[in-house]
Symmetry: C2
Subunit: 181 residues, 2 copies
Amino acid sequence: MRKFEEKTIRSEKIYDGKVVHLQVDDVTLPNGKTSKREIIKHPGAVAIIPITKDKKIIFVEQYRKPLEKSLVEIPAGKLEPGEKPEATAVRELEEETGYTTNELEFVASFYTSPGFADELMYIYVSNKLEELKEKIDGDEDEFVEILELTLEEAQQYVKENRIQDAKTNYAILYLQTLEMM
Amino acid sequence: MRKFEEKTIRSEKIYDGKVVHLQVDDVTLPNGKTSKREIIKHPGAVAIIPITKDKKIIFVEQYRKPLEKSLVEIPAGKLEPGEKPEATAVRELEEETGYTTNELEFVASFYTSPGFADELMYIYVSNKLEELKEKIDGDEDEFVEILELTLEEAQQYVKENRIQDAKTNYAILYLQTLEMM
């Protein structure tokens, strides 16, 4: 679908970072006028909803510098170049929770902020978890704490804004619509 | 919650745009090491789920330059400085659909990409819509087309990735959990 397409006249790279890349495009609008679009390029991300045998959901709490506070979220991480989303899901599960799985189910994919960023988020779910024998270290600049919550407890966290994150709020609604909980 | 707090050593402004602001912070991690955080500052956004008398959901299709394609989304827009989210919701409804309402219900708020951006998204729903007598013009660089879909049609759009957007996918799941549809 290319309805209302905006043609690029000129694209200026502003910043080439570790995670985000910023460019500003001059575009021609459908009415012939021109405008500027500020665009964040992002490698994409993958999240997993891990469900234990006793039907608890595994979350991680971590500090989010852009918000200057910590949030409770489902495990997630950036797609590495050439990595399949399923592989990212298992890697993040292993690094952040100490569990692994070989049974993943695709839940959804969506752009997190299509107005200014191209980040595509993939979400998977697994209720076939196995504990890892040895802990795997994740990113050296990531500090997370694990929480196992029932769906009801997670819904309470949403009310208290301790869970307040697109992928995690989506995951909780998704579980509400399922029979598995 | 300030668990695992990352203290700012230095903050460098990289870009000050119309929509996004980019800064790179040097931070001290909980283990005493340092790291860099690339942070997008965004004014926040508000979306509304408009439901017509015959239980159709009003969507807008628009070109999303970061993705180089158009998406079907619920009406949404940026918070203006000092504006209450409820006012943004009504303004965007009026500008994008030609309807208005004086009955809004809060659905949820969440950060869209807490790893790199502070954008907070508020979502409201209304099934008490009234047609505006006169059309209100919106942003001069916004071109949208209106679609009215049943919930089943919207779910089909999700399967086809014509709807693939955090707030809109969330809205559709939310409606699935309600009796009102």
